[in-house]
């Protein structure tokens, strides 16, 4: 094995730290996906594009001279309304339908978003400079951008906030009730239409936060949304709906996998590895379940 990562084991520390910090970010996106999947039974292919849009909001602020970190407050607010509008325009018509219809419809939305972002922000790879500096560890052999630590910290903060909100607030309770049984919730006086709109808005807001954090830690490009969708989908099918610790752990696992795949296979196969992992996870689950004569539902 003449891989660099095995020759220099310190790189493993680097990859692990990067992976875990990145994974927390993925988990935040996945949590949004789990939320709307659980409540509305919709698979949103445009999830990743919402993330990128959120990132571009922070990037626009950066261009305007405001520190992009403020994006984690501004971006979710704007994205909430984007999500809400998206729900009112399209999503409300696919809620009770076949899942394939929601996949295709959101795929269409994703294409529109990509192209509009391409028009507005151009097809260049951009990054918002946070100028947070870097932490050096282990004799300068492991570099850790402070922005990544900041991103992970903010993600955890927002995730905790959301969990408390979902547990305590009236809307949170209504959302959970609708997820359990929409019809019963409706009978008991929950305005499910409103709940759906709010859920989709919250999901978009989560994407906005993640996007703003991605704009300072990674790079933005109009066409890189789909990998984020697939990552969050993967995390959700591994972790299950509405199980936050599992979402966090599988998010970190995915982050680790990606960083190691990056070192071992090479950067050009990184996205390919993510998509192959999706296929492997699904096939693995399928064989595991088929022993019991069941299938993924």
């Amino acid at each position: 094995m003449d891989f660099l990562i095995f020759k220099a084991p310190i790189l493993m520390v680097q990859a692990s730290l990067d992976g875990i910090l990145l994974g927390i970010l993925f988990a935040l996106i996945a949590y949004g996906m789990a939320l709307q999947w659980g409540v509305m039974n919709i698979i949103n292919i445009a999830q990743g594009d919402l993330v990128i849009l959120g990132g571009y909001i922070a990037y626009t602020m950066y261009l305007a001279g405001i520190h992009p970190a403020w994006g984690v407050i501004v971006s979710p607010i704007i994205m909430y309304f984007v999500g809400w509008a998206l729900y009112k325009l399209v999503i409300n018509k696919v809620v009770d339908r076949d899942l394939f219809i929601s996949i295709l419809a959101t795929f269409g939305i994703a294409i529109v978003f990509q192209q509009l972002m391409n028009f507005v922000f151009g097809a260049d790879v951009v990054v918002a400079q946070s100028e947070y500096g870097t932490t050096m560890l282990f004799d300068n052999s492991v570099t850790l951008p402070n922005s990544k630590i900041f991103a992970a910290f903010i993600s955890v903060l927002y995730a905790i906030g959301l969990v408390i909100y979902m547990k305590r607030s009236r809307l949170g309770r209504a959302i959970r009730a609708t997820a359990q049984n929409a019809r019963a919730a409706k009978i008991l006086g929950v305005d499910t239409e409103k709940v759906y709109a709010a859920t989709f808005g919250i999901n978009a807001a989560l994407c906005g936060i993640a996007g703003a954090l991605i704009s300072i830690t990674l790079t933005l490009h109009p066409y890189v949304g789909l990998p984020y969708t697939v990552r969050s989908f993967m995390i959700v099918i591994v972790a299950g709906l509405g199980n936050l610790p599992a979402v966090a752990i599988s998010g970190m696992g995915l982050g680790l996998f990606e960083e190691f795949a990056d070192y071992i296979l090479g950067t050009e196969f990184r996205i390919g590895a993510v998509f192959m992992l999706l296929v492997f996870i699904l096939v693995y689950r399928r064989f595991k379940l088929s022993k019991k004569r069941e299938y993924l539902k």
Partner: protein
């Protein structure tokens, strides 16, 4: 036996198809595209519409066929690695005989290998159902593009130039005509094949799988076997279509031409839905309409075409999921050989 009306229809269409490149000489490339699109929509419909397994990943076989045809065409006569490294045609030139031999063998390989691949991965992938299958195949298609983009011997990120049409044939019309008749031939074969399937027990089994797979299994149908065969049929024609398109376009890029999930991969699903899933003529009509719409409008909305495409997807899927044939069927059920019991219909209305 074929009815006389059908006979007139089919012979008319074949004559039209054969005459088309001479009648619309300027549109030969578009007509070739149309044939390929119809083949893709029709074969997608076999497992998307008839079997109920909505695949986003048939682009995998299309791209595979494209790369295979070009690789075989080059590799038969010249070292493949040097060809892609030098950017293709500059160093090596195919003679006329070499070109046609190459493309013949290439298309054969492009049809067979994707079929084998579909059979090999079918058991694993087709065990997934519904949206898991859709997402898994979406992942497969994109992964294939990303991986192909990293492989040096087929040009990696810089692309792969397919052998140019032999320069010894001076007739400027020849290239367009060759690719048109090739694709038209594949279209006719695909149509005859799909038509045959529509009249066979195989279609009923596929429909049973679509309607309720568990019950179909309980009735003693080995669903997995038929699902794999259904997918292999699609893969066969997708590979052929890809091979032809590779030759026609003349340049293969991993994510923008071959494993082009954003265009071809969506187009085939969209065309089948537009025309009506699960009908023989639906995908054909859908593909034709879509192609006319696309060619007619694309140039006017330059730059905005993907926005238009996205909006089109949303509109078709949300408001028009049954497609054109489904709509006609609702409107004129007797034309489709269906009778509706008036009493039953009224009773249903009252229940609402």
């Amino acid at each position: 036996m074929m009815k006389q009306k059908d006979l007139i229809l089919y012979s008319g269409l074949i004559i039209l198809g054969l005459a088309a490149p001479f009648l619309f000489s300027a549109f030969k490339v578009q007509l070739t595209y149309l044939c390929v699109l119809i083949v893709l929509a029709m074969t997608w419909n076999l497992q998307g519409g008839e079997m109920g397994y909505n695949s986003f990943g048939n682009i995998l076989f299309y791209g595979l066929g494209m790369y295979l045809t070009a690789s075989v065409q080059v590799g038969m006569f010249f070292p493949l690695a040097e060809w892609t490294e030098s950017g293709g045609e500059k160093t090596f030139v195919h003679t006329t005989a070499q070109y046609f031999q190459g493309i013949g063998v290439g298309l054969l390989v492009a049809a067979i290998i994707p079929t084998i691949v579909a059979g090999a991965i079918g058991y694993a992938i087709l065990g997934l159902r519904g949206h898991y299958f859709a997402i898994c195949t979406l992942g497969l298609g994109i992964a294939a593009g990303e991986i192909a983009g990293g492989i040096e011997i087929i040009g990696a990120g810089q692309g792969f130039t397919t052998p140019p049409f032999p320069a010894e044939i001076v007739d400027p019309e020849a290239r367009g005509q060759f690719f048109y008749f090739l694709s038209f031939f594949v279209l006719v074969v695909a149509f005859v094949f799909v038509k045959y399937i529509y009249g066979s027990r195989f279609r009923l089994i596929l429909n049973a799988i679509r309607d309720n797979e568990d019950k179909a299994e309980a009735m003693g149908i080995q669903t997995m076997k038929y699902k794999i065969v259904g997918w292999m049929c699609s893969a066969f024609f997708c590979g052929l279509a890809g091979g032809i398109m590779g030759g026609l376009i003349g340049y293969i890029d991993s994510t923008d031409v071959a494993f082009d999930g954003r265009e071809m991969g969506v187009f085939m699903v969209l065309m089948a839905i537009l025309g009506g899933k699960g009908t023989l003529w639906g995908p054909i009509i859908g593909a034709t309409l879509f192609h006319f719409f696309k060619e007619g409008l694309w140039t006017f909305i330059l730059g905005w075409q993907y926005v238009a495409l996205g909006v089109l997807i949303v509109v078709i899927v949300v408001y028009f999921p049954e497609g054109l044939m489904g709509w006609l069927r609702e409107k004129y059920p007797d034309r489709f050989g269906e009778t509706i019991d008036e009493k039953d219909r009224k009773a249903q209305v009252e229940l609402k």
